[in-house]
């Protein structure tokens, strides 16, 4: 029961409210997106732990980290402070937009992989699905902010490119870890970006 309530709560944050009379101000949209990013941050460690546990050791070892593993189809979240600070509104938001679009598509792929690798783990599959929904929610919220600020909204692209269907089980396990890890990094980045917007466009 509490799970259903949580999903309901989540949905109110995910969907930019349809016209309730007067359209939302940029500040309101920014606050909504910021709150979503915070709630995503809260769920991050649970998702990562659940995922790593299900893959077995070494993934499930305490403190597991493999920064050497990367996916070139995911944009990196790290950026020099100087560059980050100098981004204009449009560029700042479109980077977040691009990242969460890629993450949404990759999370779908990871969900499919795990359905195959861990079919008897419904909790993991549900958490992956929720993460994908939250990422989609972030996309919607960011698009809403761009519209409210009069910024151009780039079209959705296929970021996965050619999916190598022959990926082995181990490669798929690594892939899931990288995606969830980067999802965490981009959530932290989104919190910082949106905090900046909150300060710049106070209500």
């Amino acid at each position: 029961m509490s799970c259903q309530l949580a999903i309901l709560c989540l949905l109110t944050l995910l969907l930019p409210p349809l016209s309730r009379g007067a359209p939302m101000s940029p500040a309101e949209r920014i606050t909504q997106a910021y709150n979503l990013a915070l709630s995503m941050q809260e769920n991050m460690s649970t998702l990562l732990q659940t995922y790593l546990q299900a893959q077995g050791s070494p993934f499930s070892d305490p403190g597991f980290s493999a920064p050497e593993l990367q996916l070139s189809s995911l944009p990196p979240a790290d950026i020099s402070f100087k560059t980050w600070n100098a981004l204009d509104d449009g560029e700042r938001l479109s980077r977040v937009q691009g990242a969460f679009l890629a993450l949404t598509q990759h999370l779908q792929l990871v969900g499919d992989d795990q359905r195959d690798l861990n079919p008897d783990n419904p909790i993991l599959l549900a958490q992956l699905r929720d993460a994908r929904l939250r990422a989609q929610g972030m996309l919607g919220n960011v698009a809403a902010i761009m519209t409210a600020l009069g910024l151009p909204n780039p079209r959705a692209e296929d970021t996965l490119g050619l999916v190598p269907f022959g990926a082995s089980a181990f490669e798929r396990k690594c892939r899931g870890y990288i995606v969830i890890r980067e999802y965490g990094h981009w959530t932290d980045r989104a919190v910082r970006d949106l905090a900046l917007f909150k300060a710049k466009y106070p209500s």
Partner: protein, 439 residues
């Protein structure tokens, strides 16, 4: 692991020459508070250093428990530094003893494993080839287990002839160490094709529910197929007619009430399950009851085609929980018993409090004592009533009174024994104690 441009295959970055981390070993940081890069990459630019990757063969092998495995980790390099020297293996996070590996050539490290144990997790055991600094170069998932054994003990039941639920036990050992898929199949014995049940885990992990399109008065063949990476097994075929395995809902509207002031009886009433009211059958019922703080149920059997029953021999002033269940016996004129329904929700009621002191209670009179030391009014009334009927002499004597009390206690005991076995008197009228003509 090869890296293709724009691909979503994970690749590893390592360094030729000196290890990237001067401290040695794998750098550990919390998963998402450090940056993802290995620290060598210039921000927002393509990596300056070349990298090498590796591949393990075989990929995702499936093996029987106890078998051996030969594996290789081959390094591909862009730079001359890419070598198998210094690489090592781990299996499920544990470093493998160096005597199990050897270098086949400059770029290939071999591994020989023997007598493999069953896989630790369904997603496969992780066999990993590491660079000297501990970073992951390549991996392969091992699936080690057993083929499934024949499932057995299939039992099925139909709720109100509308559906069929079946349960089975997986093969003798159950643990195959591999994900095993169970599929319940069924077909009409004399006609038609195989059907597969779709709704699994309805009443436990090894169960399936067929919600509709079931024929009556004709036998079905039912079996379970178990499959995993190593093989498959099929249970024996169970043949049944839906009408032979019918169960129904528990009786609704179970009411328990007192029987006037009788302190050792309760009356139970219920309604026959409505779902089967249109079908000719004689229902059988069972009642069970227990004292509030006991776990022992007493069962009243053989309640045929009634919708009420009187429980007797109960303790006065006690709360009882009562449940009723139904068996759709003889459905459509069949002589067979059906399957008992679930018990109804427990209904509670309490017997009236006793006005006479209980046996062994503090207020009990010892034998032969003066009756004036404490008989209750009611008891005396009963005695006088009895006397009026049965005494030959009008001389009241305390001896006579004691004898009567002794007789009362004795008949109470036998009464309770009979009632404990469980019987449901059909007579609706109040039961009176029949006292013997002679003492």
């Amino acid at each position: 692991m090869p890296r293709a441009p724009g691909s979503s295959r994970p690749h590893a970055r390592g360094s030729p020459g000196p290890p990237p981390n001067p401290r040695g070993g794998r750098r550990r940081c919390c998963p998402y508070c450090c940056s993802a890069s290995s620290g060598r990459r210039k921000r927002d630019q393509e990596p300056v250093l070349a990298q090498y990757t590796a591949v393990i063969s075989p990929q995702d092998p499936t093996l029987l428990i106890g078998s051996s495995l030969q594996a290789t980790c081959s390094v591909h390099g862009d730079t001359p530094g890419a070598t198998a020297e210094g690489l090592y293996w781990t299996l499920n996070g544990r470093r493998l003893p160096p005597e199990l590996s050897r270098m086949l050539n400059a770029s290939t490290l071999a591994l020989a494993l023997a007598n493999l144990n069953g896989s630790r997790q369904q997603s496969g055991d992780n066999l990993v080839c590491h660079a000297r600094d501990g970073s992951i170069l390549a991996g392969s998932c091992l699936y080690v287990g057993l083929p499934p054994e024949k499932p057995f003990n299939i039992s099925c039941w139909s709720k109100n002839m509308k559906d069929l639920t079946c349960r089975w036990t997986p093969g003798a050992h159950g643990e195959t160490f591999l994900h095993t898929n169970y599929s319940l199949k069924y077909k009409l014995r004399w006609y038609g094709q195989d059907n597969t049940c779709e709704e699994y885990h309805t009443v436990g992990p090894h169960s399936c529910h067929i919600p509709k399109d079931l024929a009556l008065f004709t036998p079905y063949e039912i079996w379970v197929e178990a499959t995993n990476r190593l093989g498959s097994a099929r249970s024996d075929v169970l043949t049944l007619d839906i009408l032979d395995v019918v169960t129904t809902d528990p009786p609704p509207d179970v009411h328990v009430s007192r029987v006037g002031g009788l302190e050792d009886q309760l009356s139970v009433r219920w309604v026959s399950p409505p779902a089967l009211k249109d079908f000719l059958f004689q229902a059988k019922y069972q009642i069970r009851y227990r004292v509030e703080d006991s776990v022992d149920w007493k069962v009243v059997d053989d309640v045929s085609n009634q919708t009420s029953c009187r429980l007797a021999g109960l303790k006065p002033g006690t709360v009882y929980f009562v449940q009723v269940r139904c068996n759709p016996f003889g459905i459509y004129g069949s002589k067979k018993a059906g399957i008992w329904s679930e018990w109804s929700h427990p209904t509670a009621a309490s017997t009236p409090r006793s006005e006479r002191p209980g046996p062994g209670g503090g207020a009990c009179e010892p034998r032969g004592s003066e009756p004036s030391s404490g008989p209750v009014r009611r008891e005396l009334k009963q005695f006088l009533g009895w006397l009026k009927k049965h005494a030959y002499c009008s001389n009241l004597s305390f001896r006579l009174y004691d004898q009567w009390r002794a007789w009362m206690q004795k008949s109470h005991k036998t009464r309770n024994q009979h009632r404990t076995r469980g019987s449901c008197p059909r007579a609706e009228g109040a039961r009176r104690e029949v006292l013997p003509d002679k003492l």
